[in-house]
Symmetry: C2
Subunit: 219 residues, 2 copies
């Protein structure tokens, strides 16, 4: 009486949800690895082991599928970051130091990057969607900065000696460091360093990124 088999043979609400999830996960994985335009609806449904029409039935269109993955993962990542920032606020009476703020910004995506983390591929998807995404995604990225503003405001408060534009620029630099964590760039680093860099040592990477970024905010 395997639940899986039962679900597949007598499709009920669970089976519908299961199919939708399989499409979602297959699409995210393929988009992350090969890019949006290089992945066809046929690739996705084949990888998921479902019917060709599933994408349009469950999501409306390939574009809408991409957008829904982007929305969900962005919300998840931002939620983790916001929670860490909130906790840092609580610990420091509403005015956390730079290192704590940057930790809230950096730690969640790096946690996702861990080979043991279920969202390792989601981070690759998000970084890719950011540059290759559809017009709708670029729209959102370009105009909705409310999430980032929590961090820039915190940094402004933590760096009263700096000109505000300086703070924004340095935050911009840190974001560049975070976006550099695609498989492609990490592989290239591995080749360049001839294996010296241990890309799977996430704790070490986080410590290095934080040290680098925090130093950049000094003076």
């Amino acid at each position: 009486m395997s639940l899986d088999e039962t679900a597949q043979e007598t499709p009920g609400p669970e089976a519908e949800a299961a199919t939708k999830h399989m499409v979602f996960n297959a699409a995210e994985r393929l988009f992350a690895l090969n890019g949006f335009q290089n992945v066809s609806v046929r690739d996705i449904t084949a990888e998921a082991g479902v019917n060709l029409a599933s994408v349009n039935y469950h999501f409306g269109s390939k574009d809408a599928l991409l957008f829904e993955i982007f929305r969900r993962r962005t919300a998840e990542l931002n939620r983790e970051r916001a929670r860490m920032l909130h906790e840092a606020n609580d610990r420091h009476g509403g005015k956390p130091p730079v290192r704590e703020i940057l930790t809230a910004l950096i730690a969640p995506p790096l946690r996702w990057l861990d080979p043991a983390h279920e969202h390792r591929i989601s981070l690759q998807f998000l970084i890719r969607a950011r540059s290759e995404g559809t017009a709708a995604i670029r729209e959102v990225l370009g105009t909705d900065v409310s999430h980032l503003r929590r961090f820039s405001d915190a940094l402004l408060a933590a760096c009263p000696a700096l000109q505000p534009d300086e703070v924004y620029w340095r935050l911009h630099f840190v974001l560049g460091m975070i976006h550099q964590n695609r498989f492609m760039e990490l592989d290239r680093l591995h080749v360049l360093s001839e294996g010296l860099t241990r890309e799977d040592d996430i704790a070490g990477l986080q410590a290095r990124m934080l040290d680098f970024a925090v130093k950049g905010f000094e003076v």
Copy 2:
């Protein structure tokens, strides 16, 4: 007796070269602004004001055209960087300090970013091609690290107190900062800072990036 008109009406070797150049420039511009897959051969030839078949006649295929633009611009950028590194070597007896090395890495792409520079769009193209490019481009990027190695070697010599893997990671971070200079990211920064950041002040940006990066290499 306009040379342009003559060239168009009696196509000679100059006209052929002119057509090829127009295709090259139109393609680079459209690829940089809209991405490779979103630009059709029809878009390119229409923008260039030439015949639809020109792309295949002069370059073989759309893929080959992309690769040729990538090759040419990469070579130009690397040449500028290598020259600056070479000059820094000359000024410091073969062992330049970190700031000079990072200047050689950062200054050329930032010069291209200047609105007054003829290669402003080429830099956008290069950053985009790096993430969205074809398999051939990713191949080159992933395996050919000879150009980067000149910089990592110089940094290793300039930072004897650091573990080599530390140096490679920090170089990786700086590359992330450089790749963050797409129009999209700069526009987003402009929105976030509510216009405080002056993205067209390239000298200021270079000073800020260098200060940030050099601090990151301290200790």
